[in-house]
């Protein structure tokens, strides 16, 4: 009986030790994924973002409850352009027919230069905003920025137009090297 109890005790100690070491070793849980892409980014758009967070009765009790209220202000960057892997060219003499896809949004990020301790505004009697609620507010602001950029048809059209200008310049440059004056015709992929 004593032996069994001793064995159980040892197993428990080993399990506790393993649990503790797992917690400390968590930073090793990293992995990377890689792949080829062909994103021709033609526009970089800067957005001014404000997230307004409010939650009632987040701390205290009965008549001494406090709310959480804060704002975060920063700039976000959205990059847009065309997927170059979808660009197709058909050449016939001096005529070049280029099929180009619609412009799309590639990246949306927080501009680190505009995001620091001065980006936060908190009410005097508010509960201290935790990391969790700050991340929620930022997520919402980033989502709003992405939606705004995706819905901006004018901006996407400009990004596509800029891609066309770049490609046309290439065709012109290559043509001048081999003594050809190419005429470009556009076909829009939907």
């Amino acid at each position: 009986m004593r032996k069994i109890l001793s064995l159980l005790l040892i197993i428990m100690i080993v399990c506790c030790a393993c649990g503790e070491s797992n917690k400390l070793n968590k930073p090793t849980l990293e992995q990377s994924q890689v792949r080829n892409i062909a994103e021709l980014a033609t526009l970089e758009c800067y957005y001014h973002n404000v997230a307004d967070y409010e939650d009632e009765e987040t701390s205290g009790w009965l008549f001494w409850k406090k709310d959480t209220k804060f704002w975060i202000e920063y700039e976000g960057i959205v990059r847009m352009g065309v997927d170059a892997s979808k660009i197709k060219m058909k050449v016939d003499g001096n005529n070049v027919k280029v099929t180009i896809p619609e412009a799309e949004l590639f990246d949306a990020k927080v501009d680190e230069k505009t995001f620091d301790e001065n980006s936060f505004y908190k009410e005097d009697d508010s509960t201290e905003p935790t990391a969790e609620v700050q991340v929620k507010a930022l997520e919402q602001a980033q989502l709003e920025m992405k939606e705004k950029a995706k819905d901006d048809a004018m901006l996407l059209a400009t990004a596509q137009s800029q891609a066309q200008t770049l490609i046309e310049q290439y065709i012109e440059n290559v043509g001048s090297l081999i003594d050809r004056e190419y005429v470009v015709e556009w076909d829009y992929l939907k």
Partner: protein
């Protein structure tokens, strides 16, 4: 003298009582019952007086517990997040990203004694490629070769997904009102260190950039029997 007198009075009273006991036997039982009930009440009152404080104390504890936990569990939860986003400026660029790396990392903030204060887990994307406006073209008409020189591979974009940030605090005091901006910079720094060590990223980005550029130029020069060499 006075003591003797008092003792005499007590004896007299005692005799009277004894007489009452002898001649009022029925009433005696009734009065004994009444006295017993009165004694019980007195004892109960004493006991109740003794128990009042623990009950009162318990009641306060219950109110505090309900007020604290009940107040938090059944709180009037009205979380509201409003976000606004306004376009400020647009810059024309010509960046060709040819390779993408998705990175899931953990950054740690340390104090002066190199003790960890908190860990932050994050998801990030790194894109490498070239500035397409810096591609140089040359022709060798005699050899019928188009020589294409690509600029140096650059990290064109490093994006840490702010919404992916998750924390483990070793020191809870660090969980303050501007933690997310500090941790965001920490993640970018950590990501930068990881990217610098990824030699494969630059190599693969260059290989794929060559393919993309070749694919855009070759159709234009094939009919004239030119070869495209991308370096």
């Amino acid at each position: 003298m006075e003591d003797n007198k008092k003792a005499f009075e007590y004896d007299e009273e005692f005799e009277n009582i004894e007489e009452e006991i002898e001649f009022e036997s029925d009433e005696e039982n009734e009065s004994e019952e009444t006295n017993a009930v009165n004694e019980d009440k007195a004892i109960n009152i004493k006991i109740n007086n003794g128990r009042r404080w623990p009950i009162f104390f318990l009641l306060i504890v219950v109110i505090v517990v309900i007020g604290f936990f009940g107040g938090n569990v059944y709180k009037n939860h009205k979380e509201e997040i409003k976000a606004t986003s306004d376009l400020k400026k647009v810059i024309k660029i010509s960046k060709l990203s040819s390779f993408k790396m998705v990175h899931n990392g953990i950054a740690t903030k340390y104090d002066k004694d190199k003790e960890p204060l908190y860990h932050v887990r994050y998801d990030a994307t790194v894109k490498a490629g070239i500035d397409a406006s810096k591609i140089k073209l040359k022709v060798n008409r005699r050899k019928k070769v188009i020589d294409v020189r690509l600029p140096k591979i650059q990290i064109l974009d490093s994006t840490v997904d702010v919404a992916s940030q998750d924390y483990i605090f070793e020191d809870e005091d660090e969980n303050d009102s501007d933690i997310s901006s500090e941790s965001y910079k920490l993640c970018l720094k950590d990501l930068g260190n990881e990217v610098t060590e990824e030699k494969e990223l630059y190599k693969s980005a260059r290989t794929n950039a060559k393919k993309i550029v070749r694919g855009l130029i070759e159709p234009l020069v094939e009919q004239d029997d030119y070869k495209v060499v991308v370096k």
